[in-house]
Symmetry: C3
Subunit: 231 residues, 3 copies
Amino acid sequence: MGYISRHAVLRGFASESTIILGRSEIGEETFLDEFVCVGYPRRNKLLGFSGKFADLDDLSSGARIGRKCIIRSHTVIYEGVEIGDNVETGHHVLIREGSRIGSDSRIGSYAKLDGKVEVGSRVSIQSGAYLPHLTIIEDGVFIGPGVIVTNDPYPVSRRLLGVRIAREAIIGAGAVLLAGVEIGERAIIGAGAVVTRSVPAGMVAYGCPARVMMTREEYDEKRRAHEESGA
Amino acid sequence: MGYISRHAVLRGFASESTIILGRSEIGEETFLDEFVCVGYPRRNKLLGFSGKFADLDDLSSGARIGRKCIIRSHTVIYEGVEIGDNVETGHHVLIREGSRIGSDSRIGSYAKLDGKVEVGSRVSIQSGAYLPHLTIIEDGVFIGPGVIVTNDPYPVSRRLLGVRIAREAIIGAGAVLLAGVEIGERAIIGAGAVVTRSVPAGMVAYGCPARVMMTREEYDEKRRAHEESGA
Amino acid sequence: MGYISRHAVLRGFASESTIILGRSEIGEETFLDEFVCVGYPRRNKLLGFSGKFADLDDLSSGARIGRKCIIRSHTVIYEGVEIGDNVETGHHVLIREGSRIGSDSRIGSYAKLDGKVEVGSRVSIQSGAYLPHLTIIEDGVFIGPGVIVTNDPYPVSRRLLGVRIAREAIIGAGAVLLAGVEIGERAIIGAGAVVTRSVPAGMVAYGCPARVMMTREEYDEKRRAHEESGA
């Protein structure tokens, strides 16, 4: 089992069951784990699929993965994806066509980049987070487990609006972000919040619907006290 | 690797690692992807399992999948499932025993039909949605990503009540629907809502707990304005 | 395909594609399904990984799984995990290093024990639940589908606080539990709740944020009436 396209350039390590399709490029010291697919073809190519695996390989334009990455088991990475250096995925991750991930970022188990998603460097996306087409995540952002980002203000409409999460922002576990909102630099969203409006830079918002409750400076002070109370 | 039961009828295409158990029937031009299992045996059959794979195959009554379907990688479809024509699943989908899915429907990645679930035609179930035993989804419904439907009003009770979602209704991302509620025809549930009571046909409800906020006609007018403002 | 370490002791059944690494011990009559990995090495071991699979095997200290367990397809169990007898996992489950699971417990499909998590006996964890490092689940607890437990009161801090869920408590579907809360014995959390404070033993809380609404005795009375009304 396993399959490595003759069009692919594999400088790292593939496991026995890894499948690499199309003109994929895998960097030095990168590890592709068991039951992983890289270079998965986008939908319109599958629709006319003849059933011959070699055809599937020829259809794929491949994915590019940098150096020293770890792509853990059961992960699927589509064609047209670009991943930087020192990136890690958990298990069962899905990264759809056109997504880009900067260096030193981590994508948790079961996270889904479901369309063209831009992820910066040093980003941490925790388990099970859902990021749809058009989402933009800037450098240093933290996305908690189970966060759901949306892209359609009036489903099912013909005009999608991506969510932008600016540098160093933190999104708490299980928060739901409505289409088109902007989360400002260093802003924080509390766990379980439903975010219906943009949150300015440096502000902390939570609740259903989320409201601004304090500043990032106040939050950082509480965090400092919390950390010290356990010392 | 991979296994195709001698009891199965495969008219479409299976990948090298696909596993097909029991009297499964796979229609013309249907594609079964890598690391997919079809005809997975229900629990009570596994309990007495001897460890011989051929026995597992003999135990399964198989699943039926129609024509021109795409069943993407890492998906598990149980025995007793019936799927129509032109159905697509994403990756890592789970469809448990007894579920039925009408033609032209799509089941997103990581979605779980966890028991006997009825899904109509032209239904769109987005990534990670959870639909338990007894859920009924009528034709043309849209279920957003991460929606959680429940079936027990007083867990853990001995009397489950399924949720019914009527024709053309839309359930926003991350909504939680309590056991036994009915979502009327063309009704809309906002993202992040917790739905504790039934919502009448043609109404739009959101919030925690969800309350009716406008009519579908008003919503459609807002959607039209939204679509036009981007033109 | 598939791989069974020469260091492992397999008394049960492995499927053709099952991967067992390191000094894993698998009890009598336990069934390891297709596309399952057992004894997966923790992160710091992978970082210096040479790319040789035999090395990966030598790196793993293995996992221990008891008798009569069913580990369903696409599940990943890390090294250092201990699982009792008669435990079942669903499909696509992830159990990280150091977690312990008592006998007769069930871990639903897509559930993630993401770090060192202690799970008692007769526990039922439903599909997609997320339990991070330091979570403690006592005997007889029920965790509904899509529940998200957290462990950092001020993300991203250096002081994590685990959630403890005491004996026989019930957590409703989609609830979010904030770091450090304690859910008392036999307490109940309603579906969709956001739990920001501890809930005393024998109390029922729900809402966003969750508030105590009734006693367990009142709840049990309602449950009894619900069960009888369907008889």
